[in-house]
């Protein structure tokens, strides 16, 4: 096989030489013949003529030799290409339509593929990515599925688990970097010694953390490439130097390493401080740690999970107070990072695949019609000796030309599509901004173009090449076009288009309904005209448990509230839609007792917070400025809290002890003075959970507060004034995350909106293509049956009858497509489940609307040609032949 290929290549490359050889070989033959003739006694002239005559056609022989060598194949291809191009150029309307249709399909597919490739297929940029698992704390009874670990969890599991080479915990730290230019708020992670080793990440400079850091318990820090460049000018001598960070456990940190530019885990981080997990566990701490584990070689995720389940059971027996109900849920790193995005991308990838298929069927149909028209031409070519294989090759070449043109234009569209995604894609798609058209996408486009060319080219080519020559030439190629096989092929195309379009429309419909549901969710607060901003107080200037913190925020609130146009100002430790808050254990007093593990999210607020966000206080009272350190501690709970822990009782006046709060005292005892409405703090899709509020005037733990400023006009206009007021109090405190509440709201549903918009556009595209498809088929049918329709009308058929005839035939196809599509949609909907909010994947209303939309659109597409049929003049039609 290889040697043959080599010979063929040689033949191609050494074409001139081969030609020369061939000429010489044949000349030798002729000369030998002349010699023989001379010997036989002919005159030289006669001998030559006889030799040439006996030889036959020298040029034909040469051609046959070339063919025998396979050179012919290439030359045929060239001929086919030229011929195909001529054919395409001859019908520009068809060509442009086909290329555009394909370009849309291929462009969309390439765009989504490029994103999916980067997110789903490309290996994660960690050396040990396939062995690293992420560890969620889980408590099914409290419906916590993706919880954080406690210090004790980290300690216990790390000691006991045999499945892991290392188990490393980390937690976010937010700090202010001082002493290197402007004070700056820095977000980073505090990580265990093994963190970098578990991921297999090496530093660019210096070292990562080692066991010695555990022993010495010194304050060491590793810088990110970005921070190193920005704050230290990329100076390698930074290693060993001390920088000023504002942490509660210290403020001078020795730099031991710098990480490479592309290292980030799990999200962007500016620095990593070291956390020791050497102190014995207390089994009375809060869930604040995330953890990863590096599986030992050969240990599977399931084995590790089984081992962890065993430990969880034993720990729950040993420490029922803290561990009852809790276990660990291991997920692969890619599941952790991409989880929901992955499903969405698969759905989108499937959707563009459907669009491409519909585009293919459209073009297959056009090709079929054209091929039928060209049956005469093809029959003639067959008659003069073209083999069926040759005819198929010719038609396929044309299709491939089309699809490759479509692919080229599609690639251009994909470039544009990716740019669009960069601009409008949600941030929840990891690494979106790094994604661009790459070699993978190019290969993909090429493969898809070729595949589509073959896909829509092969059926028409096969069908036409089988044409019965005699029949065709006899019938003049007219009646043959209505042959049952051709009609079946076209009907099949229409039915499959309808089915595919229906499935896409159902997907889009469900996402749309889900998105509307999401928008309708009662937030529990009014997001209009609210400006939010965060202030992080440097601990060195505002120490923990120091009244200076309270004074700062009190003054900030007062100054901003005094601004013209500001109607109300509140402050909160954790903004709505922004995340989790802090989960705290609590105990009740008196006749109602709660589980020892009962916990609720705690938020620290100012007295005007509820009024600024118009959160109703449904019973009791809100905090006031009169609730201070000197007055008895007070607590407000939300309705969920009241419903779950005090069912059917009035919570106001009861007392709670909130445990695990930092200094000055580890617990906060207070009386419930009010019940506030539920707020979707964790995001629109998550139901409200039990929550407790305390006043910042009574607890000074939080150095970071978010101000919510209610204004009487566009809140964005107030940014400079608000900034000015804060700087007037203290210039050294960073202000960040300045956003309107409506922006936060919009960000929080960005992924849903993105899924919905993309799928909706694909569905619209599919619907349009399918409508064009059925329109084309019905028009063609009408043009074929002009004669018959004329006869019917001559015999007294009314316009209505003709309409019925044509539309009726289309309706049958639509019905068949709808039924198949419904079956497909029902089979596929489980995939959609996780992308939906508040809608069942088999939502009957959505299905009904979708069917109606599809039926109306496609019936309308049938109606246009049907109307044309009613305009048929019987006389003309009968004269037609």
């Amino acid at each position: 096989m290889v040697s043959r290929l080599k010979r063929r290549l040689q033949t191609l490359l050494r074409k001139r030489e081969m030609e020369q050889d061939l000429k010489e070989e044949l000349r030798y033959h002729v000369e030998r013949q002349i010699e023989q003739n001379l010997k036989a006694g002919m005159s030289p002239e006669e001998a030559r003529r006889a030799a040439l005559r006996d030889f036959g056609g020298i040029e034909q022989t040469k051609e046959l030799c070339r063919e025998a060598r396979g050179v012919k194949l290439i030359e045929d291809l060239w001929q086919d290409l030229r011929y195909g191009l001529r054919v395409l150029v001859r019908s520009p309307a068809f060509t442009v339509l086909a290329v555009l249709t394909l370009a849309l399909g291929i462009g969309a597919t390439t765009t989504i593929f490029t994103v999916a490739y980067a997110v789903l297929l490309k290996p994660l940029p960690y050396q040990n990515a396939d062995r690293v698992v992420y560890i969620w704390a889980r408590n099914t009874r409290q419906s916590v599925n993706q919880g954080y670990l406690t210090y004790s969890d980290v300690f216990d599991y790390r000691e006991r688990a045999q499945s892991f080479e290392s188990l490393a915990a980390y937690t976010t730290v937010v700090t202010n970097l001082t002493g290197a230019g402007e004070p700056e708020r820095i977000e980073g992670f505090s990580v265990a010694t093994d963190f970098f080793r578990a991921l297999g990440a090496s530093p660019l400079l210096g070292r990562t953390f080692t066991a010695e850091d555990d022993l010495e318990d010194s304050d060491v820090v590793i810088l990110s490439y970005g921070l190193w460049q920005r704050k230290f000018g990329g100076d390698p001598s930074v290693i060993g130097k001390t920088i000023k960070l504002d942490m509660f456990w210290g403020n001078s940190f020795r730099v031991v390493g710098v990480m490479p530019r592309d290292f980030q885990f799990p999200e962007r981080s500016e620095l990593w401080t070291h956390a020791s997990f050497t102190d014995p566990p207390t089994h009375a701490d809060t869930h604040i740690f995330r953890a990863i584990g590096l599986l030992k070689h050969g240990v599977t995720l399931a084995q590790a999970q089984a081992e962890m389940d065993g430990h969880a059971r034993r720990l729950a027996e040993e420490y029922p107070e803290s561990n009852a109900g809790w276990d660990m849920n291991l997920v692969s790193l890619s599941d952790y990072i991409f989880g929901k995005t992955r499903v969405a991308l698969y759905v989108l990838l499937g959707a563009v695949g459907f669009v491409l298929l519909i585009a293919c069927t459209n073009i297959a149909d056009l090709q079929l019609v054209r091929a039928l028209h060209r049956r005469r031409e093809i029959a003639v070519r067959t008659a003069v000796g073209a083999s069926p294989a040759r005819i198929i090759r010719q038609l396929l070449t044309e299709s491939l030309l089309l699809s490759l043109c479509g692919g080229a234009v599609g690639l251009f569209l994909a470039f544009w599509g990716i740019r669009l995604l960069h601009a409008f894609g949600p941030q929840s798609i990891p690494r979106l901004s790094d994604i661009g058209i790459n070699t993978g996408s190019l290969l993909f486009t090429a493969a898809v173009s070729l595949a589509t060319g073959v896909l829509f080219g092969i059926a028409p080519a096969l069908y036409v090449s089988k044409a019965d020559l005699n029949e065709l030439l006899k019938e003049g190629g007219r009646t043959a076009t209505t042959s049952p096989a051709g009609k079946r092929a076209r009907n099949l195309l229409i039915v499959s288009q309808m089915a595919l379009a229906l499935m896409l429309l159902v997907g889009a419909g469900l996402l749309m309904k889900s998105f509307i549901r999401l928008r309708e969710v009662s937030l529990g607060f009014a997001p209009e005209n609210i400006l939010t901003l965060s202030i992080s107080l440097t601990r060195a200037d505002y120490p923990q448990a120091d009244p200076r913190r309270t004074i700062f925020f009190k003054e900030a609130i007062a100054r901003i509230a005094a601004l013209h146009g500001v109607t109300s100002v509140g402050a909160i430790s954790h903004l709505p839609l922004g995340g989790r808050g802090v989960n705290m254990k609590f105990a009740t007093e008196g006749d109602i007792s709660v589980n020892a593990e009962a916990s609720a999210d705690l938020r620290v607020i100012s007295s005007d917070y509820f009024s600024a966000l118009r959160i109703p206080v449904t019973s009791g009272r809100p905090f006031t400025d009169l609730d201070t350190e000197k007055t008895p501690h007070v607590i407000i709970i939300n309705e969920s809290f009241a419903r779950i822990f005090f069912p059917g009782l009035d919570p106001v006046g009861r007392r709670l002890t909130i445990n695990g709060l930092g200094p000055p005292s580890p617990s906060f005892k207070g009386e419930i003075v009010g019940v506030a409405g539920d707020v979707r703090h964790r995001g629109l899709e998550e139901d409200a959970r039990p929550e407790m509020y305390i006043s910042y005037l009574q607890n000074t733990v939080w150095p970071v507060m978010n101000l919510v400023v209610q204004t009487d006009s566009d809140p964005r206009g107030f940014v400079p004034a608000v900034r000015r007021e804060i700087e007037a109090i203290d210039k050294g405190q960073p202000v960040f995350n300045i956003k309107t509440m409506e922006q936060l709201l919009s960000d929080s549903i960005a992924q849903s909106r993105f899924n919905m918009l993309l799928l909706a556009s694909f569905a619209l595209l599919a619907l349009t293509l399918a409508a064009i498809g059925i329109y084309g088929v019905m028009s063609y049918m009408v043009s074929l049956r002009t004669h018959e329709i004329g006869v019917r009308m001559a015999l007294g058929a009314q316009a209505v009858d003709v309409l019925k005839l044509v539309v009726g035939q289309g309706a049958l196809l639509i019905l068949a497509g709808t039924i198949i599509g419904l079956t497909g949609a029902l089979a596929l909907t489980p995939v959609m489940q996780s992308l939906l909010y508040g809608v069942s994947p088999t939502d009957p209303l959505t299905f009904a609307i979708v069917i109606l939309v599809l039926a109306f659109t496609s019936l309308f597409a049938c109606y246009i040609p049907a109307r044309r049929a009613t305009k048929v003049d019987p006389l003309n039609a009968l004269r037609h032949d």
Binding site: S3, R4, R7, R8, D21, E24, E25, L26, Y28, H29, E31, R32, Q33, E35, D54, F55, G56, G57, Q60, T61, L64, C65, E67, A68, R69, G70
Partner: protein, 111 residues
């Protein structure tokens, strides 16, 4: 009135003959043509238009190979010889041929 016709060779048969002739030694195209006529007692004839494409096809399939050498009268000629693959192919085709012709013979004789 029909003229007596020389039998035309089918392509496959011609290739079989070429392989057989080359087993006895190296030959160039003209020689092969002469031999076929000679050996078959002028019954079988082959035209250059059939012979040369066959030779090139066999060469393309690797059953024979060619090199330029000098012919008896010292002119450059393309001389073909059998390859190992060609030898194997010859044996196989020869067996098939014998089976086939034997069967045809049997039918012609008895039927």
């Amino acid at each position: 009135m029909k003229r007596p016709k020389k039998a035309d060779l089918l392509q496959g048969t011609l290739e079989l003959l070429v392989l057989r002739l080359l087993r006895s030694g190296q030959l160039h195209g003209w020689d092969i043509m002469q031999r076929i006529q000679l050996v078959s007692g002028e019954v079988l004839s082959v035209t250059p238009g059939a012979l040369y494409p066959s030779l090139h096809r066999l060469e393309e399939r690797g059953l024979i190979e060619a090199e330029w050498g000098s012919s008896e009268n010292n002119r450059r000629a393309k001389i073909y010889k059998l390859t190992a693959a060609g030898r194997k192919q010859l044996e196989a085709e020869r067996a098939t041929w014998e089976l086939f012709s034997g069967a045809v013979d049997a039918i012609l004789r008895d039927a």
